[in-house]
Symmetry: C2
Subunit: 885 residues, 2 copies
Amino acid sequence: MAQQYVYFFGGGKADGRADMKNLLGGKGANLAEMTSIGLPVPPGFTISTEVCTEFYKNDRTHPASLAAEVSANLRKIEELMGKKFGDSGNPLLLSVRSGARASMPGMMDTVLNLGLNDTTVQGIIAQSGDERFAYDAYRRFVQMYADVVLGMEKDILDHLLDQKKEERGVYLDTDLTAADWKDLVLQYKGAIKAELGIDFPEDPEEQLWGAVNAVFGSWMNQRAITYRKLNNIPAEWGTAVNVQAMVFGNMGQDCATGVAFTRDPSTGENYFYGEFLVNAQGEDVVAGIRTPQPINRAKNKDGELPSMEEVMPECYQQLVRIRETLEKHYRDMQDIEFTIEKGVLYMLQTRNGKRTAPAAIKIAVDMVNEGLIDKKTAVLRVEPSQLDQLLHPTLDPKAERTIIAKGLPASPGAVSGEVVFSADEAEAEAKTGRKVILVRIETSPEDIHGMHAAQGILTARGGMTSHAAVVARGMGKCCVAGCGDIKVDYADESFIAPNGVEVKKGDLITLDGATGEVMLGVVPTVSVQLTGDFATLMGWVDQFRTLKVRANADTPHDARVAREFGAQGIGLCRTEHMFFDAERIAAVREMILSDDLEGRQKALAKILPMQTSDFKGIFREMKGLPVTIRLLDPPLHEFLPQTEKDIDELAATMRVPASTLRHKVEYLHEFNPMLGHRGCRLGITYPEIYDMQVRAIMVAACELIKNNGFSIVPEIMIPLVATVRELALLKRNAVAICEEVIADYGVTMEYLIGTMIELPRAALTADEIASEAEFFSFGTNDLTQTTFGLSRDDAGKFLPFYMDNGIIEQDPFVSLDQTGVGQLVRIASEKGRATRPDIKLGICGEHGGDPASVCFCHTSGLDYVSCSPFRVPIARLAAAHAALS
Amino acid sequence: MAQQYVYFFGGGKADGRADMKNLLGGKGANLAEMTSIGLPVPPGFTISTEVCTEFYKNDRTHPASLAAEVSANLRKIEELMGKKFGDSGNPLLLSVRSGARASMPGMMDTVLNLGLNDTTVQGIIAQSGDERFAYDAYRRFVQMYADVVLGMEKDILDHLLDQKKEERGVYLDTDLTAADWKDLVLQYKGAIKAELGIDFPEDPEEQLWGAVNAVFGSWMNQRAITYRKLNNIPAEWGTAVNVQAMVFGNMGQDCATGVAFTRDPSTGENYFYGEFLVNAQGEDVVAGIRTPQPINRAKNKDGELPSMEEVMPECYQQLVRIRETLEKHYRDMQDIEFTIEKGVLYMLQTRNGKRTAPAAIKIAVDMVNEGLIDKKTAVLRVEPSQLDQLLHPTLDPKAERTIIAKGLPASPGAVSGEVVFSADEAEAEAKTGRKVILVRIETSPEDIHGMHAAQGILTARGGMTSHAAVVARGMGKCCVAGCGDIKVDYADESFIAPNGVEVKKGDLITLDGATGEVMLGVVPTVSVQLTGDFATLMGWVDQFRTLKVRANADTPHDARVAREFGAQGIGLCRTEHMFFDAERIAAVREMILSDDLEGRQKALAKILPMQTSDFKGIFREMKGLPVTIRLLDPPLHEFLPQTEKDIDELAATMRVPASTLRHKVEYLHEFNPMLGHRGCRLGITYPEIYDMQVRAIMVAACELIKNNGFSIVPEIMIPLVATVRELALLKRNAVAICEEVIADYGVTMEYLIGTMIELPRAALTADEIASEAEFFSFGTNDLTQTTFGLSRDDAGKFLPFYMDNGIIEQDPFVSLDQTGVGQLVRIASEKGRATRPDIKLGICGEHGGDPASVCFCHTSGLDYVSCSPFRVPIARLAAAHAALS
């Protein structure tokens, strides 16, 4: 028996099933399924995706047996419809549509009304009794076929239509008569002959094969290729072709067409939601020329158009029953298309409906309660990345907005405030109760207090992982970064948008961190609810996942937010942010300017009690959950001003000669700070800094253990280790201080000393490093920078180009590069565990909140991921997905 | 039978052999060997290194059987010497010396004259008939024993000696009498009692064990630990202890002591070279109080002291015979120590003699000609690193010098010239025929022309692989880098040395690139010869090596030098240096300032003919040898000025508004240029640049092929590739141009397109990259930077500390880090070959000229290394060593 290439559906029976999407495409599989479960589907057949693959393998030719199969199936349609393809009396018309495994909306071609020619049009006239309808259908077919199959410039035929309307003095297509359409069909065919030198095919068979080949051909059109690249769809998958009997919603007042969702796709509410149009074709519903009517009165407010429930009650009730059948059968909310031809309802499509995050959650939880699905399925129904919109306020979709610029959507949320241009100003204004947006060319660690004080941050430079973006995400604060459109003038305290609008200090703007849009004035927002269904679903999520989720948090406030979002510990507490506090930065600078150990120790002694109290606050909030504290990481020059003016000012404040300060700034200057004197390199050359920090951590822990009965196991993390000897040396120093403090307090406690794996060399020599490290935390931000040789602060000049041109598929700072960086994570995990089987492994880069990266961490056998507090629920859900699939 | 711990030698027989160095240490093994071959060696025994290992394993105790073994061997010495240890009449005295596997000169302890006490000293008096000698020996022993074994402060006994001399009104030790020495022995013992509360041990057995334990103990003294760390000697090796009968060269005018080399260690000339002193102990020869006499008249000039040949002709003739025996036996130049006691010659040591590079070469070649060794051995006798001194002029060792500062020995050679402070000045002065030294705080690519023009370069900042160091080594130009001692003042055109000396523009200084020393005035140099023995040896070298050696060369001149040094091709031709030429930089800047493709193409069109002629020059010099050309690598901002003043000047020259230029400089600014918009990232965003370069390469090759009958296979190298897609895109562009040019010229030729592997990700995904790359060149400079996360320009602040403290053993920019970076080289080689078995693999970082790294490349199976032209002979020799071992 020859291989089956064509799958029939119709008359309550189908060769295919819903689970045959790979072979039949999504549309074809669901048409078959609907047919099988007894729904009224116009009969048709699907040419499988294998034919597409063969088509491209064999130089755009088909398998030998295909023609006979198509022909046999066509006969079956004719039989069921009681019509004949190409017949002059009662002709069958067909639709030819693409249908790939994954939805590729609008990417590929469709031909409707196929089978019309000068003969069959007469049959349609006879059948419909409507000449105008028949010629309208005919000219639509010619137009579509010319475009899709013959590759004719659209403009030429469009121009003829415009000419005709002008000639007839009408504005709308609907004002043209049967004679007009008939004439236009003639004109169209003439233009095709003139332009392409061919006669428009009159033979329906020829039309059919032309359309089939055009659909297969459209798999490789530029739009489709780009879409696949963006959505990671392999070219090998191919598309199926669905050939189906045409039904018409535009044959009169007893005809209609509509789209519906079995539940509300915005809110998830369990009521039937949809729109329809009487006497219309599918494309008219979405074209927006006529206002569609609601299908029922459920949410139909006074004064709105009459609903289908009222206008076509029988069909509506049939549709309601179909809705129930579909939901029970598919156990998911469905997005359906239907057409009513002369009072008869036909289903043209069903598929799982797209939905907003709140809807996804509500539908999943409701369906569990309704017994339709189990909890696992409910958890898998919500896409982790969807949660992002849920965890931040969003702009009211109905509000008007004046967009003046667009940057990168660096940190979600929607905020409004008065524009300020410096961190100090942001802080000062915020203290007076004003809401401000901090606008900077770029931010630096010196701006932290201003970023804290501001509602949101807008920068002109920097990418998705620039300082502003990373810090803002960590704070859960809205940020639009790298908005190169705007020209910021600090001196003038203003910026100019590309359309020439000048925004001055104090002007109100709104940022949408989810889209990167910058708007004039205040745009109202809507906030969200984290209890109810959300809480229910997240409870199920935690039952299924095995990967732990921690948060990156540097302050007691962040720690509290992290716990509210379900973090199981802190995976990264950065201590340098504590150094930027106004009171402390003075002592830090005093330390940096000291030329001897004694001077540095004196300055550090001032910081010690403050750091101790920081850590106490965090330990207190985390109530015994693990806290990983990273010792000082950034290079010292980040704590000093860089411009001449700032240096002079600071020198005056500190009462040191400006030349001394300038000399120090020059001395500390680095060509590549990312690869410079930072991390453990500071800890080794200035051991007194880490000594102070370790002491602060241990004193904080011991006091809470001794006085408050806490149980704390601090995890002290040493950054930027490249060789085991660095870690050995610093661990020895740290252990000495830990033991001293423990002895001083007379408590019994454990502590862990571990390291970041953030340099390729550390990953490659993880077996050696694990002999000292009690835990590894993969710092995948820096690991990505060094593995790619890519500075995230500088990548903005070429990374967008790389993504646009498919050189890289994903920003490696957003989603972990599993091929390269991931290889190092796996190597280090294996080598680390080989040396120390119980070594704790986690990840604390930005990737900890990216669903694909979380999945990678799960399959790589890590113990936990750590991410921004606001991404903790996303990571929890992604971890559950990884465990369940 | 119990394990043997003690190995005897004496009376023409020995338990040990020369090849038992691991067990007996170098000294012990050679004493045994000399005894076996019949040389007159005072009898003794060696306690093996295994005892040292046991000693430390068992809490500083010895194996149970050791005491009996020592005792038995001591009896054998007594028998052969006819003396008795501790005897009052004819006492045996012993020396106790350390002796490790590897030479550790002066690092560990020695005790001489052991066995003396108030009783045995009488026997020495009786035997020697010299009371003064006996008490002098006694006090030396007490002094040495107190220091080495008892850990007494040296100063206390030294002070007693000074007091005695003062008291006796004499200046020299030799003016003290027997009574003085006798009294001092008493005083010493009293002081030991007072200070340490112990009696000085009178029992010779106790003395012996004290000394043995002290020698073992000295293995772990700080000096020894540091030395081992610096020389990569494992602590587990341990030291042996040599106990030997004392012989005295200071018992009268028929006594003497001396050291000699069997050939001249400076020149390698085949004559017996040495010095001796009549009536003296070994330490006197090196102490420099008395002027030693030559051992023969071979090079003895008029007016010099009489030689041993004249003074002690019999002993001298015996020594000449011994020299012959040793050279025939060891087949290498020996460094010997001897003592003559009362007319009897004793050999105390022989070992392979250290020698200068010219001597090493001459001796190796001579010994092959003399039939003593084969060519393989000759090749292995010359250390690759030694050649460095040979390939550059060096300071005349006899010349006086005033050292004013010391920096890093960044690029060897010795040069003098007038100080200038800018590249332009260097060029201008050089044009007038003056020799100049360019002094900069640091250099940048803008200084290249000045570096070319200068004799040498001195920088205040930057490490061994700073810009100045790398470029200077590439040019084979002397450079002292990172000389933080000097304060450079550009405005004043002067620098101040640490001793306050101010050096002004035009003052003469001399640099020694081999030591990092900076000297006032002109110090004369000596130059070297690359023909004769050197050429002979290098001919043998090339017979044995399998690894090819290429050079990094950017100009026809460098290419010529490289070929003279034996390079088999160019492994790295950097094209950016060609862009800095005064005429071209204008066009380059015009390109950078262009806002559109057209403008850039116009500017590039001006550069095309120049680049073409560059490549023609290089191809011409290389006469068909392979040439790998790297397309543009540095970020564009390197071609623009950075200071306000320079920007204004350039703007005026270019006739563009300063603001335009400033804006472009700001736009191009990068936080981490090393990880920024450079390499193939430029080639992808500005394809016209690479297009121009590829065209220039191909036109140059085609013209030479067509018009001059050359056979050229250009290797076009694309830098900084992180993903195979980057390479695929750029390769497609390059191939199109290559084919176009080949078609234009109508020639038949091959060309290769490959990539640098200089990012960890490239190494990790080498299997993918090899699907496009026809060759890999490991750019181990950048690969080291990214693998370690270490900027070579910034590492100067902590890398020296790391090396001083043993955190890293070697500067990873000097010698390839085999554990980390090497792992990536191996991974990439394996993966690359798996995809493309015939892929060409080479290395083109600075490491290509480092012997250890060359050996690594050989064992890793690379096809070639590429290094600075001046290091090509080193690499050739290292490759031969690797192949032979």
